[in-house]
């Protein structure tokens, strides 16, 4: 995949599925994970097949991850911060949490 980066100048510690990892300050969550060799971010809501980031500009919504108290975020648009606890989004994303349906009915 991507080459692991060595001697990060300004490292940030975080975890993914309980694994401790390190990224560079200013990385997005997606860059932090890809740089650590993680590229399966979630399971698809329809068939449960694994998915990972695709576009990196906030358009494809493939990069959803669960972040501690923040909830489900787009990993390619959210900056990594010290101590972030990240986990995979399982295929049971609650649609009311996303809220798209409710509002588009207005």
């Amino acid at each position: 995949m991507f080459r692991p980066r060595t001697n990060l100048t300004d490292p940030v510690n975080f975890s993914f599925e309980g694994r401790r990892l390190t990224a560079s300050r200013g990385d997005t969550i997606a860059a932090a994970l890809l740089g650590s060799g993680v590229f399966i971010f979630r399971e698809s809501a329809v068939s449960g097949i694994p998915r990972g980031p695709f576009c990196m500009i906030g358009n494809c919504y493939e990069c959803f991850v669960q972040v501690g108290a923040m909830g489900v975020v787009q990993a390619c648009l959210t900056e990594i911060t010290e101590g972030m606890q990240i986990s995979k989004v399982s295929n049971s994303i609650d649609e009311s949490e996303m809220g798209i349906k409710e509002i588009s009915k207005r």
Partner: protein
């Protein structure tokens, strides 16, 4: 208690060359300008992370190319201009023209808010054209643009087993950048057919009009061709693997070949990102030269709603220099609008703009979209979110479904979180092809706000109507 309404003269959405130039021009002229950017730092996709690269790793600048380095001047001008910059802001709504006030629905730091500008400039740029093929949903398959963005903002470089596939200037630029970082991809699977006579003629005209850009482009292409393993005439691309990408296969002249890899980067050119402009009710049409939907534009950036202008690649793919020129030109239009409430469109086109036009005509023709991706094979997933295949789209078309909106009801195609961004173009094209009619006649998904996911909680907490700010009263 009275509340301070969030007002401004002009809100610019997007911080690439178009948005930033327009913001600078207007702010330097004394206008109160706010730039809303989804990203964390200004620059858009082309100058992504340029300030950080200059500050933290200047040694990388020369590998990323002269055009990228040029972005730093614009960032400097922008920082001095007096325009307000709000990073990390998603715009999920532009109020419709039925509503009394022009308003923008924003999400900033997880909370929803409104902003009431007198005028909006959309500079939302481009997105990569959808490239559906078998296996493109596997983790490990990404776009070239995604990989380039990771290189600029986080210095992530692919392993040598990386395979690039597709066509378009960005693909060759990225390959040339990899070469300068000392990385030689396993293969570049070029899907571009050989150049037509028309493309050659347009190329000559483009060379006369923009010799510098043309020579630079030819240099990339040349360096990629001699230094790298470039395979021409590729079609029927497939990505294989169980839980993530393991191999890529493709056909050349009737023979299938296979490569093991963990990273496949695809690209097939870019198209305007029109989700905001469509949700705002602005008129659009299908541009057959660029095979994509574009807003109807007159003058520098005027649209069918006089309080909204559109510039840059979001108006029509033109590249960074055209975007900057449009930014300058639109500023006069917007300024007149703010003074008189009337549109006065800038009619004259500068010579530089006309020259760029000739370059674009060549690029559109020489790097036309890949046929395989435009009309994918039956078993290919078209809608990544709802996992709807091309076969299902063709079936509903055969049963008499005449458009993508009706198709949604039968297949859920386009109803996932991406709201059709990765399938709209394909669905319209597949349906048009099935019915044997032009894409314009089939139409596009109806795009409605919110165009970004927003939770019910965020929505409920927001001050909706001017003067009724719940939190402040």
């Amino acid at each position: 208690m009275t509340t301070q309404l969030p007002l401004c003269d002009v809100a610019v959405i997007g911080a690439g060359p178009a948005g930033l130039t327009a913001a600078c021009e207007l702010a330097e002229g004394g206008r109160d300008v706010v730039v809303l950017d989804e990203q964390a730092a200004p620059g858009g996709q082309i100058y992504k992370g340029v300030e950080k690269v200059f500050a933290d790793r200047p040694q990388d600048i020369r590998f990323l190319g002269g055009e990228y380095a040029g972005g730093e001047r614009l960032m400097h001008r922008f920082r001095q201009s007096g325009a307000k910059y709000r990073p990390g802001v998603s715009v999920w709504q532009i109020t419709s023209d039925q509503e009394p006030e022009l308003g923008l629905g924003l999400i900033e730091n997880g909370s929803a808010q409104m902003l009431y500008p007198k005028h909006v400039i959309l500079a939302t740029g481009a997105m990569e054209r959808p490239t559906p093929f078998e296996g493109w949903t596997l983790p490990g398959v990404m776009t070239v643009g995604a990989a380039q963005s990771l290189l600029k903002s986080s210095r992530l470089l692919p392993e040598d087993d990386v395979v690039l596939a597709g066509t378009g200037p960005l693909l060759y630029l990225y390959a040339a950048q990899l070469a300068s970082f000392g990385i030689r991809p396993q293969a570049i699977l070029d899907t571009r057919p050989s150049m037509s006579l028309r493309a050659v003629l347009l190329g000559v005209s483009a060379l006369a009009a923009c010799p510098k850009s043309m020579l630079k482009g030819m240099k990339w292409l040349w360096s990629v061709r001699v230094k790298m393993n470039m395979v021409r005439g590729v079609h029927s691309l497939k990505a294989q693997g169980e839980d993530h990408l393991r191999s890529v296969s493709y056909e050349v002249r009737g023979y299938r070949h296979k490569l093991s890899t963990s990273l496949l980067l695809v690209h097939d050119g870019v198209v305007p990102n029109t989700w905001l402009s469509m949700s705002a009710g602005i008129r659009h049409h299908f541009d057959s030269a660029q095979s994509c939907w574009v807003p109807d534009i007159h003058g520098a950036g005027s649209t069918s709603r006089k309080c909204i202008s559109i510039i840059g690649d979001g108006a029509r793919i033109g590249g960074a220099s055209v975007a900057a020129m449009q930014g300058e030109r639109v500023a006069c239009e917007v300024d007149t609008y703010l003074r008189t409430q009337h549109c006065s469109t800038v009619a004259t086109q500068s010579r530089a703009l006309r020259r760029q036009r000739r370059l674009r005509r060549f690029l559109d023709c020489a790097f036309s979209p890949t046929a395989d991706f435009q009309l994918p094979a039956d078993e290919t997933i078209v809608c990544r979110c709802e996992e709807v295949t091309a076969r299902e789209i063709r079936q509903v078309a055969a049963r008499g479904c005449m458009g993508p909106n009706q198709g949604k009801a039968f297949t859920r195609c386009g109803m996932g979180p991406c709201m059709g961004r990765k399938c709209a173009l394909t669905v319209s094209q597949v349906m048009a092809n099935a019915h044997g009619v032009p894409v314009d006649q089939i139409g596009h998904y109806r795009i409605r706000s919110p165009i970004r996911p927003i939770t019910v909680g965020q929505f409920a907490d927001m001050a909706l109507v001017p003067g009724q700010d719940k939190k402040a009263s």
